[in-house]
Symmetry: C2
Subunit: 259 residues, 2 copies
């Protein structure tokens, strides 16, 4: 995709997100309709669905030839990364959304033949949009941001998944001990933002494509590493345990989890 076209898409997506945020804030004032999906901790609300509907409609009108992978299933069955593939997470961190009315994100990614073009993570309550890609750089609202420093695990805080800590899956408890401390925020979007800003040196969690689609583009643009927990490249259409962070922290964690 050419740079002019990328800029045009970027302006368009930002206008959708601005409208999407306003709609979510309005809908939050009414009583939420909350349903469980796979268990009592896996929630979906009327707002997740309405927002996916809104964003999928926008994408279909703007880019009718593309495929859309959406968390709530209002997009397409995507089985190949050929062509343009949009990935939509209308509310990332639905438990936080329901129980905290805070600490959740709207995320959109655009891939072309498997290559990340543009990624968006919108911290709705903080009103901060993290956006960009390899051709534009990474922005917090209108301000360009870069990796502060290539921190090692021992020199930073690590974001983890609560369930993985409780079961000590992949030896993450040892990862926590080697770091300066673990943090559990409950939203991949918020954790990835924290890594981009330098507040965490890394993050480990079981993630689905819509959880890491936008983050992968932003992180790699700014020199962070993201892979499966065993160091393999991510398949954008599959769920897996994801490890991301500064190159040094990524390497340090790989050493621990492979022991």
């Amino acid at each position: 995709m050419k740079i002019d076209e990328i800029r045009r898409v970027d302006r368009e997506v930002k206008s959708w997100l601005s409208e999407s945020r306003k709609r979510v804030l309005t809908e939050m004032k009414s009583r939420l309709v909350v349903n469980t999906k796979t268990g009592r901790r896996d929630l979906v609300t009327n707002v997740d669905k309405a927002n996916e509907h809104f964003l999928v409609d926008k994408i279909r009108s703007y880019d009718p030839g593309s495929k859309i992978l959406g968390e709530e299933g209002l997009g397409d069955q995507v089985t190949s990364s050929k062509g343009q593939v949009w990935i939509v997470d209308p509310i990332d961190g639905t438990m936080n959304f329901v129980k905290q009315r805070n600490h959740f994100a709207i995320m959109i990614a655009l891939y072309e033949n498997g290559q990340g073009i543009l990624g968006y993570i919108f911290d709705v309550m903080g009103n901060k949009l993290y956006s960009g890609g390899p051709d534009l750089g990474v922005f917090e609202n209108d301000q360009k941001i870069s990796m502060e420093k290539n921190y090692s695990l021992a020199d930073g805080l690590i974001g983890l998944s609560g369930p993985m800590v409780l079961s000590n899956e992949y030896n993450v408890d040892e990862v926590s001990r080697k770091s300066l401390g673990m943090r559990i925020y409950g939203s991949a979007g918020i954790d990835i933002i924290s890594v981009l800003k330098g507040e965490l040196v890394g993050y480990i969690s079981h993630l689905k494509p819509w959880d890491f689609g936008a983050g992968k583009i932003l992180l790699e643009t700014n020199g962070f590493k993201i892979s499966s927990i065993d160091g393999q490249p991510l398949d954008m259409l599959s769920s897996t345990t994801v490890l991301l962070g500064t190159p040094n922290a990524h390497r340090d964690v790989l050493t621990i989890v492979s022991q």
Copy 2:
């Protein structure tokens, strides 16, 4: 203390805190001088010390007959809760302060003969001051806040201490499993704010008097429960493992940790 006097003190403390926040924000722009205290995760910076100095000076000028208990030791040796006792935490969540430049708090409490009079927790980067006491009520900046609902543990998120989770101290891993999820934020002040706002139903951590002094006053004013992990009243001059939350979540946790 009479209500007029409480109102006067309240205005005074708010003016100190406003100035204190500005000073901290300015000092954050310069390079921090970071030292360890009891270990690599127990930090103190030049800003902690300068801010305690500033606040202790303000209190001494305003209330020379009182005693001051401060985290960095610039106050008095306080061995009795008789009379007026001020408790100061110049930077709560120093690790977050150093590594995130975010998610930390300035805290002040005023006790009279062991009774909480006024408490202050200032989320510096969020620019939100939680203040008040039994005679004034609890405020987020200028807005009065109350307990949203007496949530049970099973119906909410629980704030925990990372090290306690790793060692499963007091069976906190089971507390996490019974909840809708654990969150680890790394600052007692930020966790207590989250409970006051209803974002967490409870919080468990090893705490020192300056970590819970202000929070105890605000929480109890709004009907939350706070005690040691075995359900005993807190001694304002001692460190202990603290459990706080909605009355229902507090009861639910006590049942689990006493098994």
